[in-house]
Symmetry: D2
Subunit: 314 residues, 4 copies
């Protein structure tokens, strides 16, 4: 791949995240072929300049193929299925990069299938939402062989920032889970201290403005701020999805014999939040549960708040 | 104060933090007079261009006086003592801005003393260390009257970034405590997930590089990274000091009837860390306690790690 | 006090607990004089054979006086007030035994007042309710001088079972707080596992019957069982009172530098239960909060359940 | 089974617990045949009057067979193996009662195997140690058909006290796990409050004497008291075994969507205790970890303490 422009790139999966990510490669001028189970969704990228093909098998001759599908079964299907990336006995992609959220076990078995066909496999799970992608702030933890990583790195760096090679095999899966546990813990911490501050007479908007400017401020604390201030819980990530990551994390903590008291407690708090009925809203509803325990009925402050995602730079 | 250059600024307290902060005002060209119990420490600022005076009383005619001392008793002394800022019956400073860490009760009584002499009082506690100050990343939460805040705002913005007016009276004290509780929780979260990642075969340097680039990354996570990677626990903030903030926070949670399960658990973890003998080291030793529970003996990775404080921009 | 029958016993405080306790001494044939702020309440004991007097001062010549009042201020009043036990300059009781729930500080100051008048003072806080008293199952932790304890021991053993001398000064106060923290933790544990069992298809009555028969069964688990099975939350002890004990316990843990993670977490859970509106019911409502988090709407099983308090023997 | 004496009883598994339990049936005069993989261990019961046979197959014609083996694989082997209870095509036991600790899945598959041969299967897991058995205080939770339970009840009541029918199928497995989680939580609670009391100047022996006499006292708190007072951690149940039960419990909590914050925290504390090196000692070492966090070096009090197991009555 001496010249990026000569590289043929494939993309499997044109859901909201997949489309947001793939469009960055298309708009950067790469030669991208895309496919999706429901072809209509792929046409959005076609309109931007991508070539739309029927099935993953049509991408078998690509140099690198990215996969962004919804889970274990779909990954197996698009790689090893009858119309999958490896279904053409004559050829297989050079490198397959999976950005989906799948289990380490599934990842390992798909890797083995790829390896047996001479295709390198990289695990590159992402965390975030389309708005974060659009702001250029998606981060990628990648595991597999170092060589394959070095080859696709230029493309990964166009998908987002902070592309990090974290080791062999499936370890990137664990990195993502760790990251998402921190995301849950930080949200619970924000909920607790925001309620304390409000009970102490401080507006949420003022408190979080301070926090966001302080050394504790992060892209994440900034983009959760509008929900905390104005109580708009349109979901970016639901308690149910967060619980799934905590469950995976606690399962890893069990297998690796790592005590994680705060993570365990947050797992139970998230479970209780779901049990209390918060299923379809954004997981920022942890704030409402914290307020309930304080006997506090929160009202929206109706203040314009910057979510920190307006530009590509912080 | 129509022209900043005409404003006479006083500064009380030339410890490590006070000197780092005051030097920013001096170097910005303001007319600053400084005083410190041990006069020699004040001479450092004198060498930079400040006027060194004997006692706080000598600053009574200043337009604005900043105070950065070590606690309740010292604040009372430098304001209301026999040589204090209010000890000259003929005159008193226009605005006194206290950046020290003191209790809300002490803050309120000093405020009352100031008000009775016609001096406005602003609570502006800071959190951070001299290196953060030097990097221009100190943040300030300020409470008191809005008028006084608007007047001194230009000076505050030279002390650091993210100057936020959070409300009346002493509420900035609570904001700082909330901030520091989050700092402790985030560190414990980092400790738990870093140990999990390491047990899963991921180098701490790789894991934290990813985390710092991700949406969870903050100035704080970046400047704690060298300690986590190379196990250098030279203190910036000790477990004992962190515990003090957690204790204050839990006391506020008690008075305001706010349940804070994760904060409470972290309070106990910090207590246990101290009980186990970690008194003089940086509170990043929470990592070692987390590793102990996982039966893991950590070794320094001896990798050069950016602490994110090298420049004034992130 | 060579012969018990010759001993003149005083009793101050004829609320529900005081009356239940004092009646045991009266019915045992002792010479008991009683007093209460509202004299009518004392008459109940008068009907049983006690002598009703007007004020604590009238008990100054008793050999031993028990006090069972509602808190710090009342204890100070009945001992050191103008009509108090020590208000007669000519004489003072030999031993004063305080069974109330007061702070260690108040206890120490009342002890000093007694000592200065030659009266021994024993701290003998009790935990329980009138039904427990009637079942002969009240337990007493006692602190003060060993001599005084040995003298009054026969009377204490008529008040309940399990009279234990725990040390000097006010330590019995701490013992009671520790006891009550355990009571809260055990209730939360019962709530969690009962909900788990119910979600697993096991009737609460069957599960708790097993638990009560097992090595984990206690007088306490037995007398909480009816509330858990039939959801009758008529209060014996409210979440608010339980929180008070947890708060005192966590304050002691703070002062004595003892990490108590599970106690701290239960403190927050109790706070949240109160914040959610459970103020006037029995603290067994912890079960309902646990059920809420599991998305479980509990129904009374309407099963007759033995509370274990029907006889004086277990 | 109109007359107990006519019933032919089989027993599989003569480890420490099995022998302690079976000996109660033998000594009660029943006609008991026993078998064990290592025949020598079965001879102990032979000496008491039992008939020793070679394999479980030799018990196929018994009316009721008890099984007490060490785990999933052993249960499958002794029931469905080539020399198992069901290996004789001509006959099978009437009722098989399994007292082992096995998973619900294994229990269900063994039940199916029994049912297909016309043998009733009861899950009757026990918790405790041989000393508890000898004191007649073993408790049994039993699940399966009510008929089978009623039939074997007289025998179960000779094995211990508090025999409780808890429902169909495998639910007794969950009951046992719940019970053991409570056992762990109560021990952690005892550890926390005992350390607090000791830091407050109260001897552990005095504190626990009070607790044991109080409404919180249980057979369990009494038999853990010698370890707490004299720091003799000869194992009855190790942290590793306790962790196994907590892990099973948290797995059930995950599947049944039940938040269990205190149980989850205790799970992590037990994991950390193991990680710190406490593997082979009694799980009462939770006390030592609690003391470590308080900076307290505990010394044995060397006081004779009643463990409450000296007689068959409480």
């Amino acid at each position: 791949m001496t010249s990026d422009t000569a590289v043929r790139v494939g993309w499997v999966g044109c859901g909201r995240m997949g489309t947001a990510m793939a469009s960055r490669l298309v708009l950067a001028g790469h030669d991208v072929s895309v496919t999706n189970r429901t072809r209509a969704k792929a046409e959005v990228l076609g309109a931007l300049g991508a070539t739309v093909v029927d099935t993953p098998r049509d991408l078998a001759s690509c140099d690198v193929v990215f996969v962004m599908v919804s889970g274990n079964a779909d990954l197996v299907e698009v790689v090893s299925g009858t119309e999958g990336l490896l279904s053409d006995p004559a050829t297989a992609p050079g490198i397959i990069v999976d950005c989906s959220t799948v289990s380490s076990d599934t990842s390992a078995s798909v890797r083995a299938a790829c390896t047996s066909r001479g295709a390198a496999f990289l695990a590159a799970p992402v965390s975030g939402n389309p708005k974060v992608v659009a702001a250029g702030q998606l981060t990628l933890a990648v595991s597999g062989t170092r060589d394959a990583f070095d080859t696709v790195r230029p493309f990964l760096e166009q998908l987002g920032q902070g592309v990090t090679y974290v080791g062999d095999d499936e370890v990137a899966r664990l990195v993502k889970i760790c990251h998402n546990m921190m995301l849950g813990i930080v949200t619970q911490a924000m909920a607790e201290i925001t309620v304390l501050a409000e009970r102490g007479g401080i507006k949420r908007s003022a408190f979080l403005e301070f926090l966001n400017h302080s050394v504790m401020g992060s892209t994440f604390t900034r983009y959760k701020t509008p929900a905390f201030v104005n109580l708009d819980f349109t979901p970016t990530f639901t308690p149910t999805l967060l619980r799934k990551d905590f469950d995976l994390g606690m399962a890893a903590a069990y297998e690796l014999d790592v005590p994680m008291p705060v993570s365990a407690l947050c797992t139970e708090i998230v479970k209780a939040t779901i049990g209390a009925g918060y299923v379809d809203q954004d997981f920022a509803v942890l704030l409402l549960e914290a307020a309930r325990g304080a006997g506090l009925t929160m009202e929206p402050e109706n203040v314009a708040v910057d979510d920190g995602l307006s530009g590509e730079t912080r």
